[in-house]
Symmetry: C2
Subunit: 492 residues, 2 copies
Amino acid sequence: MISPTSRFLSNSWRSSIILQTQSIFNLRTQRSFSATPWRLLRTTEMTDEQLASVRIDRQRLWKDIHTTCEWGKGEKWGPEETNIGMSRLTLSDADKQARDWFVETTESLGCKVTVDAMGNIFAVRPGKKDGPPTFAGSHLDTQPTGGRYDGILGVHAGIEALKAMNDHEISTEFPTGVINWTNEEGARFPISMVSSGVWAGAFPIEKAYDLVEVGGGKATQKSELERIGYLGSTEASYKANPIGAHFELHIEQGPILESSGGKIGAVEGVQAYKWFTVTVQGRDCHTGTTDFQNRSDAMLTAAKLILHSHNKAFELGCLASTGILTLKPGSTNTVPGLVRFSLDIRSKDDAKLQRLEEALKEDFSEIADGKDIGGLNTLGTKGRGCTMEWQLDTDSPATKFHEDCIKCVEASAADMLGTKASAQVQRMTSGAGHDSVYTSRRSPTSMIFVPCRDGVSHNPAEYCSPEDCGNGAQVLLGAMLRYDRLRAEKGA
Amino acid sequence: MISPTSRFLSNSWRSSIILQTQSIFNLRTQRSFSATPWRLLRTTEMTDEQLASVRIDRQRLWKDIHTTCEWGKGEKWGPEETNIGMSRLTLSDADKQARDWFVETTESLGCKVTVDAMGNIFAVRPGKKDGPPTFAGSHLDTQPTGGRYDGILGVHAGIEALKAMNDHEISTEFPTGVINWTNEEGARFPISMVSSGVWAGAFPIEKAYDLVEVGGGKATQKSELERIGYLGSTEASYKANPIGAHFELHIEQGPILESSGGKIGAVEGVQAYKWFTVTVQGRDCHTGTTDFQNRSDAMLTAAKLILHSHNKAFELGCLASTGILTLKPGSTNTVPGLVRFSLDIRSKDDAKLQRLEEALKEDFSEIADGKDIGGLNTLGTKGRGCTMEWQLDTDSPATKFHEDCIKCVEASAADMLGTKASAQVQRMTSGAGHDSVYTSRRSPTSMIFVPCRDGVSHNPAEYCSPEDCGNGAQVLLGAMLRYDRLRAEKGA
């Protein structure tokens, strides 16, 4: 099936593709393509060189990214037109605009679009045979003060890959496609990657539906799916809606590629992480009339615990972070009796993470109770003590991606970078969770990382250059085509 | 002027007063009252014993307190009908109901009621002569999770004192009255005692009017005064509306009286305090991909600063507290780039408070910058540092009350407690700020403290027994009558 867009390509553009394709074939291969018209190019009939010659349109990709970033614009941070952050919380009005654009655009490319019961959108470009599609997938939602590349780049690169297949009139053996996963960020409804998680059977859909937005509002994930018209009828399940493979292009969100001169990360897996809500219960009292030893100060206790979580995580080679903290009653001259804070702990190694969790659970109770651990309870600040509660919100064990997928990424990167590949392509572990964590439980998966400036992400000033965006999309396209050929060869 | 209430006292009640009064006079004084009908009793004609015999109605006081606490009820904390906290933020609908009751009740007692431009309500019972009234004053607003006695007891005791004067048909030399001060708590519009402060000329009315409610709403103190109909036409000023003396009954809000067996605190003054808003600026980044040394974590920095403020305050014999903390962007997997927190520091001594402020200003910057003070910046948690800003919100120097007023309180307490007074009355310094801080700048002032259970205040479970409420109101009445007589004797 040829897309409406490619049907109306100008003659000059079409001619240039023919010339480019022919010249490459003439130069690089011995095989005659006379029996295979260019408009029916099959991945199984293409050599590595032919695969390498299929190029995305880098300018079009860049333009498309910043066009859709008009919906949900955030904070301006620099002089350029695109130096504006994003604030496109999942299932907001702005997210609906981006989703509508996604559906309209992929349909115009000839895709069949399916929305599942979690609002995940699957756009599928048919292949020669039926079967679970080879997908590019990521997300269009952002953090409240996010940037223009986290998630957004991956979805756009997937669409650009489909456009390039149309432009080059390539017919894949199996269907290909692009997925926009709902609420990857977990910023509004506080479980991240929740909808790929439901798809993978990691938790029941009711749990996802019932999530209430943070910040005191009353909307649930289900009510917002209904409100914006993206509560689909297809079951959100790997059984009802299987995936053949999942490739996700993403900015690294860290400093490793940039500082080492790397251009492409072939991601082998994702570090383990757990999210907790920690509740500290003390007692409200007047700040002016209650001496330190008679206080049960939930805020002071939380400060000790947050500091201790960092020290302990560093000691064990892990990470710890607190991104949300709320307190009650919230008055300058009342010592808070209740504090709740988020605790995000991470490690490449499941066992290390387990050790950190156990250590913190033990230490937190003792610190809250007044025991002097790490100099945190000196005479003056010990007080009468507080009580503690832990709630586990997310548990994401360390993930290993599929070697076939990783190798397709490496080969595609080598196609693009040539002799520089050995210096500029590196295997990496992702520090952040991504929808690929859950897809990897149910289908071969890998990710592609590209550098982002200073490693900054979840910040309006997050930036990935046009060159790096293009590099990533190019490697994504190549990996999808190579994987399609591999599937056909393996007969899977 | 005799109040409508006393006009309709039952004959039996009236007779009992006459009998009681006559018997006391016969027993304790040599002077004949034949020339002075009981219904025109003047304070200057009363002996100490006669003054001591004028009693409030303890049951009526208790009932009135809990009647008005129906408006703005908070959290239930115990089995009794009155075991319910208060959530009556200033200028809320519930506060308007309490204000309307105040106006109606005091007018029914024969008072002239004036509302000034800050919504302060002055109810004045005429005396033999004109002149600035001797007032009881406090406030009807509460903390968001407050109790039934902080402020409320003082206003009710003032009204009960006027009722007792009516019941006993006492004619004071100068006018007496009761004041309900607006927004003593500073919980909704974040300057405490703001309206007595404007009255005293401590800050311009525009500053008070422009205060915006905490918690993200848009209402200002002025817009809410207008909305509930309490933006009065009288200038809020000690010049336009002078006060002869100010007595304030209050629960201690601390554990001293209770733990020492004291019943009445004769308050000599109020400790100095300052309120600041501290802003920590870091940089948002992803919690999973940013190692500790590349973070500018505003939340971790705030935790260090809060802990340090307590340690330093303890070292210098002062207090420090953080009751409000907000952060941005507020997402579990984003390291916060911005934290703002309140810092409340206190000391009995202005110079000590100054030393604490200077030390914290110096240390906070260095800690935020990464210097290891007090073990707060170890290798693991140092990061790239954050920047700091301080904003002074309230500056209340140490206050000394008026010796004449303090002595009237002591004498009135001795009247009530008799031989136990030496053990049960003590001079104290208030840890909390009160409207008396500002009235003391412009008129003789003192306060009366009564015990509250466990020293708990700013908490739904704040509790003052019927006996202690009654004791406080009784001492308040006696102090006002004694001060009226003293004024007349001094001719002021």
